[in-house]
């Protein structure tokens, strides 16, 4: 097995034959958003401080996006000062969204990124709910979660399924001679007899789970094992596969 299974996911770039693959990769994250109108309230910083102290580890070093919608003005030095004030609270302002060209110029001058705005009427912002000690309210992501790709019919030999930018969840058997690819993790609630390649865009935290391991190949972020290399003790078992360093680690689960 010498070919790199990761190349499958890059098939879209095949027409640029001689070009070497771009060193840039995509990823999406959930981020907290502050709005400038809120920030302008006199008691904003004390309130923010109070909120952070309820769950310090949740906020520690968290990236923050500043929503400029409905505001105008602000110079580069204003943005610089804001970055510094947030840093004091161990929050990292990474960019702005909304606002006008002048605001964008000023933000760019101090190294902030310009994020696309929410479309009108979109489910954009929600009140941030965070884990609070002693409270039972579950954390709710601020940004819409990208749902996993859900496959509920058997994956037949000769079929290839790619979950782009997300996880792949399969609830029916995955046949020998089929191939599952995901930028995220792969979950198979049935026997896995085909090939399963998780983290195909390089995510080393991606994992593979299945009810019954009989895979032809397992791969996470390009590190792979062929069936022959899989220990007999885990074949036929429900397992959890992850990367530890450079090695695929297969553990049985109950």
């Amino acid at each position: 097995m010498s070919s790199n299974p990761q190349s499958h996911a890059e098939g879209r770039n095949n027409n640029q034959r001689s070009a070497s693959p771009m060193p840039l990769r995509g990823a999406s994250y959930t981020m907290m958003v502050l709005s400038l109108t809120e920030l302008a309230q006199p008691d904003f910083f004390p309130r923010l401080q109070a909120k952070i102290s309820q769950a310090p580890s949740f906020f520690d070093g968290a990236p923050i996006l500043l929503n400029l919608e409905g505001t105008s003005g602000g110079s580069a030095s204003d943005f610089k000062e804001l970055v510094a004030r947030l840093r004091e609270l161990r929050l990292a302002l990474v960019g702005v969204q909304g606002g006008d060209d002048a605001q964008h110029e000023a933000a760019m001058d101090v190294g902030l990124a310009i994020f696309p705005s929410w479309r009108a009427g979109s489910r954009g912002l929600r009140d941030l709910a965070m884990p609070v000690s002693g409270s039972s309210s579950a954390p709710e992501p601020v940004v819409e979660v990208k749902r996993p790709l859900l496959i509920e019919r058997p994956v037949r030999s000769g079929t290839r399924i790619y979950a782009e930018g997300t996880d792949l969840v399969v609830t029916a058997p995955v046949g020998a001679g089929s191939e599952l690819l995901a930028d995220g993790s792969i979950h198979v609630y049935a026997p896995l007899r085909g090939r399963a390649l998780a983290g195909v865009s390089g995510d080393t935290d991606a994992r593979i789970f299945c009810r019954h391991l009989a895979a032809e190949l397992l791969s996470i972020a390009g590190r792979h094992l062929v069936n022959e290399e899989i220990a007999d003790a885990v074949l036929g078992q429900p397992v959890h596969v992850r990367l530890e360093g450079d090695q695929l680690l297969i553990e049985t689960v109950d």
Partner: protein, 271 residues
């Protein structure tokens, strides 16, 4: 409403033609107007299995090309008046099978028949796709061995993606598993997969198990579908399968080794 059935497998030599002939006869015997069509262009043998190879004038490709009408090409079975056969051409190749004209033939057949059984060629190319494209139900013919099961899985994938029902987003083609050439003794010795193994891998409903039997070869040598060989195990197994296909509840048989009687052993008969 007429029903189109495809007998398919991916792999060759597993018993598609044998099963097509048996099903067509079984359905016709129960009074249904039935047509059976050979899609194995270039390797025709359904006509031989049906014992009408010496009466073929026109074939499927002739009808597709407008060189003959459907009425001219359909061969009436000599045993059952409500059964007709449409032979394949031996001299063309499978590229002759274009979907659009085929659709017209099926429209016409639907008017005159209750069941249309399509005997698919092996493979996953144009001929096999043409045979399954219009199907309402598929009978997946599988031998109890890994390569056959693998090919069946592949053809199930094609049914789910390339059939007309899949393309049009209609209710999927109904899938049925027919395990053929089953030898319970060899399964017991671990030389073959068990029905349970096959079913577990393919995860589709089991229509029947046809035992391996010399009766099949005997029948094909005299051009008589094996289902007409009343006492034989494969005839009974096919009868059961046809019954289940039509919705009857019939217990599965022939899955365990038969306890061979003293005489049978003496005579060296297998089934």
């Amino acid at each position: 409403m007429a029903k189109i059935i495809v007998m398919t497998s991916g792999k060759g030599g597993v018993g598609k033609t044998t099963s097509s002939a048996a099903f067509a006869v079984g359905l016709a015997k129960r009074g249904h107007r039935t047509a059976v069509i050979d899609f194995d262009v270039g390797l025709r043998n359904l006509d031989i299995a049906m014992g009408c190879e010496r009466r073929v004038v026109y074939d499927l490709v002739n009808v597709l090309n407008g060189e003959a009408t459907l009425r001219q090409a359909l061969i009436r079975d000599k045993r059952l008046e409500n059964l007709s056969i449409l032979a394949a051409s031996q001299t063309r190749d499978k590229d002759a099978l274009e979907i659009e004209p085929l659709g017209k033939i099926f429209d016409e057949l639907r008017k005159d028949f209750d069941y249309i059984v399509c005997d698919s060629p092996a493979g996953i190319e144009k001929g096999a796709v043409a045979a399954l494209y219009f199907a309402d139900e598929a009978i997946i013919v599988t031998n109890p061995e890994i390569s056959s099961v693998r090919d069946s899985d592949r053809i199930l994938g094609i049914l789910a993606s390339k059939s007309k029902r899949a393309e049009k987003g209609e209710e999927p083609v109904k899938e049925n598993l027919l395990v053929t050439r089953y030898d319970p003794l060899r399964v017991e010795k671990g030389e073959m997969l068990s029905v349970e193994d096959v079913q577990e891998i393919l995860s589709i409903p089991l229509l029947g198990v046809i035992p391996e039997s010399e009766a099949v070869l005997r029948a094909s040598n005299i051009g008589q579908p094996v289902i007409l060989d009343g006492d034989s195990a494969p005839a009974q197994a096919y009868e059961d399968a046809v019954g289940r296909f039509l919705g009857e509840t019939i217990e599965h048989r022939f899955m365990r080794p038969a306890r061979r009687g003293f005489f049978a052993r003496l005579m060296g008969r297998t089934a």
